[in-house]
Point group: C2
Chain length 342, copies 2
Amino acid sequence: MNPVTLKQIAETLDISIATVSKALKDYPDVSKKTKLLVKETAELLNYKPNAFAVNLRTKESKTIGLIIPEVVHHFFSSVIKGIIARAEKKGYLVIILQSSESYEMEKKQLDLLLSKRVDGILMSLANGTANFKHLDDLISQEVPLVMFDKIAKIVNCSKVIINDRMAAYTATKYLIDSGCKRIAHFRGPLLPQNSIDRFLGYKKALSDNNIPYDPSLVYICECGERSFEEGKENAHKLLEDHNDVDGIFINTDLVAIGAITEFHRIGVKIPEDISIVGFSNWFMSSVISPTLTTIDQPGYEMGKEAFKLLYKEIKRRKENLPIKFKTVELETKLIKRASTRN
Amino acid sequence: MNPVTLKQIAETLDISIATVSKALKDYPDVSKKTKLLVKETAELLNYKPNAFAVNLRTKESKTIGLIIPEVVHHFFSSVIKGIIARAEKKGYLVIILQSSESYEMEKKQLDLLLSKRVDGILMSLANGTANFKHLDDLISQEVPLVMFDKIAKIVNCSKVIINDRMAAYTATKYLIDSGCKRIAHFRGPLLPQNSIDRFLGYKKALSDNNIPYDPSLVYICECGERSFEEGKENAHKLLEDHNDVDGIFINTDLVAIGAITEFHRIGVKIPEDISIVGFSNWFMSSVISPTLTTIDQPGYEMGKEAFKLLYKEIKRRKENLPIKFKTVELETKLIKRASTRN
DNA sequence: CTGAAAGCGCTTACAG
DNA sequence: CTGAAAGCGCTTACAG
């Protein structure tokens, strides 16, 4: 475990370390002959540059950090995949940390990444995060930051999002158009912008179509580990509270699948008795029965886009060019399946 | 973006860098007063040690690398979660790379991690990997390596596995016990040890129960991105080829779900006409209909265990203690659900 | 208890 | 075209 260094190559060839370094990096002021010799020897000795030393000199780690609320999650794992695919192309490595939806964890992970001197940070907020000082600090330290999906509008950085409000509007409108008159909503937690926006989209669709908004039709889910159970529980509660609901727009597919499971158990027919629209288009939504109508959320693209923005920012900072923060909005689409009518 | 260094703290307090460094690390030979002063100043200035410099000196990166075939995958994302949970406790960061089941990629990612000087590597083999020189090289360079799930028996390192053969035996036996006489098998690719072992378990269960093995009942799947489609296709082919099959043991849940979907479409009743057992216990197996009988594969625990072994090896190497490679076998269990009889 | 010095492995401006 | 030298930010054996 004593890796080869430039010094060893230099000694083998009886030339200076500086020349070896330059030869390896194809500096123009090194003779072809020397370059060849050096490269051969490096190959032979299986030389790999010591990243620490390089980083220390160049102040670049070629590593970025990624903080997400939850790893075991179809959407976020798609995002991860998009990020590392893109990062790889540009020679960047990705350190992945999980906040588990906790504000404290999120801060801790951020600190870790900072002391690792990552070149930039990509993150999606924890549900528990209501205070953004840790992010503002990051920005004032000029650490490139791009937020995606679960963002804070207030924080001054680049972002990749979908239009949650519009998507929710579309979903609810679709229920209305297919004949639903009394539409419930299983919403996400109170804090995150997404669940607020989805709720607002739901509400707007109702009012635009002259359906009175009834707060007793709105149920809250944590949308965490218990999503599936929450779906079942809320479905059950809904039936106890109301006997006239004929449609539900649900914040997340997994909760929707819980609801479907419970309705199935009780004998409520979907979509005949109650139509359901989910959100996210998890893979399993296409295989359950009935298949779930939902909003497709492009996780892989979001990951790619987020890395792209981050990369640009890193590059511009290095060149001391001015930075303009950008918000990229990705398209969603309604995927019509069997849990809704027509 | 000009982070605070020891030097700046030293200058502010007009003491030496060495003392600052020692004070921060609570060396016993620094006065209480100085320690206090230094720590206060460090806090005030928001000092974070420069990881590159520390690593360069200590030759430790406190970072490990993880290479898996696929990120968007219930089992592997559970493994990731287990690994980063454990790593965090020990102050390690995790760099995640994806081989996409390709041998070339796997080698490339390994090289990347090596030049990053990670303290150790955790990996699960790509399906495309048939040659293990890259791993042997790693080991001869004394880089701590732990393989999990998709391992190479030949490679001399610690491993975390399940008993695929026994689990497959249990699964097949369960089909036999529930009355199936003619049992097909959708197996994985030819190379990986897992799919070989699962196939052998299937075969053994048949022969132990006096059911003749019929190679025409064995269908191969790539088990990659197209798993679901492969399930559908193989189910379809199976019905064309044979009209007497009453049970299938399938290499992976996702393929099984594809098969169920196709049978459902065609009108074959599960489990009445054909019983199905999957493998892995993906979350969605519990929500499709009928729910899928399967073998539970403990991904999270596997991740935790793999990190534990790696950590021990890293530690022992640092202390120059002898290393004994260990193979940990984790328990699986049969999850009985509605896709099989009784 | 404090500090000067060497060194980790590299890069790069500069001299020759 | 080649190499000596300085320096990135830290740690630690050693001297005082």
